[in-house]
Symmetry: C2
Subunit: 191 residues, 2 copies
Amino acid sequence: MSLIIQNISKHISLTQEEECLFLSKTQILNYKAKTIVLHSGEICKHSYFVNHGLLRSFNINDNIVEHVLHFACEGWWIGDMYSLISQKPGNLFIEVLEDAEVVLLSKENQEILYQEIPKLERFFRILTEKSLVSNQERLMDNLSLSAEERFEKFCKKYPTLIQKVPQKQIASYIGVTPEFFSTMKSKMLRK
Amino acid sequence: MSLIIQNISKHISLTQEEECLFLSKTQILNYKAKTIVLHSGEICKHSYFVNHGLLRSFNINDNIVEHVLHFACEGWWIGDMYSLISQKPGNLFIEVLEDAEVVLLSKENQEILYQEIPKLERFFRILTEKSLVSNQERLMDNLSLSAEERFEKFCKKYPTLIQKVPQKQIASYIGVTPEFFSTMKSKMLRK
DNA sequence: AAAGCAACTTAATGTAGATTAAGAAATTTT
DNA sequence: AAAATTTCTTAATCTACATTAAGTTGCTTT
């Protein structure tokens, strides 16, 4: 069974026909590393589900400083939620970090699917709730923890990502500069 | 029409019977200011919708430092999403800041309502999506903006709250100490 | 209205993390 | 495999914000 159907089946159960219908509304694309799948300023037309490979979303400050919002590897969803639901230009980039196979679900097809398979409302509600919870936790961590503590939490929460993601992007995710991250890391190793 | 039904009707349409059914599954409670509606360590059993008054959710660090996650005044929802969906003990407090009338929707009744009025899945999906978008924006702001810029955004985004919320809690929301907030504010006025 | 407490202010001092800069290591491109 | 580009490291200096402390204003309680 395809990974995306497995993912959905964790929270709702679909009949064979529903699975087929769902898949028929998606397309699978392969991307090379460094491809920018969505540019800041564009309207986000799709949700992306990662079959394999690694993507990230980030924005860029006036300054040219990047801030990573989200990493997505195998079995994860990614997109620009703001732009996707408002259909206005967003301020996120989505970039492929490692060659990837991605399932695209367009906004229109998603709405069609909501009508044809109302259970999917439930699935995406649950998905969004989980995403919200994890975001709230990250927000509170940024308000209350030191950079070291945030890094430790990151390692525990995403052990597979540490191997894969360039260090400067982990730095950006936890909210410090690459220079500070580097010195902090070697300080932590010395203990 | 009740405020909560208006709120729901912004995104889905309910029949008369559905409205009645929905309301029959809720209860309305009045709280005095300073009431703690939910304590850290408890399992959150309800979603709260504010008819009038003002509530906030926050957590407390080892240190006794509070961090405000969310304010909710008239027409807003509040709860501990993590605890609500996992039904595990949460780490948020929910406190009444101004005498309030609140609609409570229990987790069980919410699940019953999902079965009886499947459209509600859609409503709460959309609600959660909006919440996620606003949270993501706040997270990115915390990563990329200065305290002054965050405060200015707060003022623009929640103009009614500035009048109502004690200053030290705005400080906590934007992620600075009350002392720094105070000096920052008077510096901003001098310009 | 007095007493008590919490919220706000101001100022001095301290520090986590930013910035700048320059070299070393690793990866990509040719 | 050389050249080019990007990532990582180290170290010095700087700054936004925290901490501490003490005083003031404004609520709340009695």
